[in-house]
Structures are given as C-alpha cells and as structure tokens.
C-alpha cells in the first residue's frame, strides 16, 4: 500500500491503484482515476455503474459480480463493456474508490 496524491487529495492505494479506504474517495478523485485509466470523460451512464458498484460495496462489503452488474445496475452487459472496455467490474471499482473485486465471475 502506498499513499499518493489524486486530484490534489492524499489517498492510500494498492499496487494496482485501487483505493484501500473508500472514505478517502470523492468525485474529483473518480474523474482523475478514470482519465488515467483511458476514459476521457465520465458520462451519466458511467456514473450509474460506478455509483451502483460503490453503493453495493458499501452496503454488503463485496463488489457485485459482472452478472449482478448487468442485471441490476440498469446498464446491460454489452453497454458495460462499451463504457469500460478494459473490464467493467474492475474499472468501475477502481473509479468508485473501492477494493478490486475478488470473485471469478
């Protein structure tokens, strides 16, 4: 774990750039992580996914599976991959300031 500066905010991240403390997150941090992950701008559809991931994690302690994301976030699987080509669950978790999803699905 290292401490780094994202959007002028001091945050703790793991080796892959996931925030280790969701409380250190804010929307500016999300936007900067998105930019450095190849997503130039977070659209309302991106936000819908990121918010769903974050809220589900904060409520249950685990990030949702890609199956749950496709069924329950309101954004279908095809669109999830258009929004986050490098992996929707992983990227939305990183942008949403929660730990990397650990499941295989």
């Amino acid at each position: 774990m290292t401490t780094t500066l994202i959007a002028e905010r001091s945050v703790d991240v793991d080796a892959e750039g996931f925030l280790t403390d969701p409380a250190q997150w804010n929307e500016e941090v999300a936007e900067e992580i998105a930019r450095s992950s190849g997503i130039a701008e977070l659209t309302p559809r991106h936000w819908q996914v990121v918010t769903f991931m974050r809220e589900r994690y904060l409520a249950t302690g685990a990030a949702p599976s890609i199956r749950a994301l496709g069924k329950e976030s309101g954004v279908p699987v095809k669109e999830l991959y258009e929004l986050f080509p490098k992996g929707p669950a992983k990227l939305a978790a990183r942008i949403g300031g929660i730990p990397k999803p650990r499941g295989c699905i």
Binding site: S65, I66, R67, G70, K78, P88, K90, I105
Partner: protein
C-alpha cells in the same frame, strides 16, 4: 554476445501481460464445459480479448435444444468419490447436476445458457468446429444466435494468432 546467449529469444519477446486468449471447449459434461466459460468470462473481465471454439461434445453447450440439459458425468469420474455403479443409477446424474447448480447459483455463477449470453455480450466470439458440426450432421441453425460462425481448425488458428490457446 554472451548477453544474447544468456537470454533466450522467445522469453525476451514474450509480453508481460496476456492480451488475447482462444479457448477450446471439447467436452460435453457440465464439469467439462464450465471451466472454459469461467476462463473466457474472466478474460473479458480483465479486458483480455477472448474467442471460444466449441468442438466435439462441447457443441452441446451452444445447441439450442441441448444447452439446457447438460449434466455432470457421474460415471467414470473419480472426482465424484462414489462407486461407479452408484453413479450409474437412473436419475443420479440429474441429482448431482441439480446439487452442483444450486451451489453455483449461490456463488452467482449463471446457468450455461445465461453464461453464454453474458460471454457473447461481453464481446467474446463464439465459434463452432466445422469437423464436429459435419460429423454430427448439424447446421448453423442448430446453434444459439450468439454463435458467429462455423469455422475450420485453420480459421480458428488464424483467429487465435497473437494470443494464447487454451484447451479444456
């Protein structure tokens, strides 16, 4: 010169990350099909390009009329830890399948038809093996619409070029 000798060329050319996989599914039992599907979905979740090639009895996974009735092999499967004769009893395979499916549902692993839809929607390519399709007397219409094409082994290798081939 010594530097060149000490570092094999193949290793030097290998990238640090996997960017693309081509997964061959060859078996028609539940436990024969799932590993390939989980690896394909897992690849897409990491942003890795994935193609799936269904051959021999794994064609059942993409056959409209068969994909819903795929069962665990309870005979000749030492992993079941059961006497072979018991595994051969009528209904036993169906029972084992139901138990496994219930367990997978708890882990949020979808049933095969839904899993294939998910994998296709994630952008992975599904292909059927030409030789197997001919051998079983099938046509493209026998398969779920997500199957992009029936292709030969040669065409499969062309698709797989530049990536890793995984045989399951």
């Amino acid at each position: 010169m010594t530097d060149i000798l000490e570092r094999p060329r193949a290793e030097a050319a290998r990238p640090a990350t996997i960017e693309k996989v081509a997964i061959v599914l060859s078996r028609g039992s539940l436990e024969g099909i799932y590993p390939g599907l989980i690896m394909a979905n897992g690849a897409r979740m990491e942003g890795i390009e994935a193609d799936l090639f269904f051959t021999f009895f794994a064609l059942d996974a993409i056959r409209k009329d068969h994909q819903g009735s795929i069962k665990v092999a309870t005979v000749g499967n030492p992993g079941m830890h059961l006497p072979t004769l018991l595994g051969a009893l009528p209904g036993f395979s169906a029972l084992a399948t139901r138990m496994l499916q219930r367990q997978m549902e708890k882990l949020d692993i979808p049933p095969i038809p839904e899993f294939l839809e998910l994998i296709a929607d994630s952008g992975a390519g599904l292909y059927a093996c030409r030789a197997s399709v001919d051998m079983f007397g099938l046509t493209k219409d026998d398969f779920i619409p997500q199957v992009r094409d029936v292709i030969s082994v040669g065409e499969f290798y062309a698709l797989a070029a530049g990536g890793e081939v995984i045989f399951t």
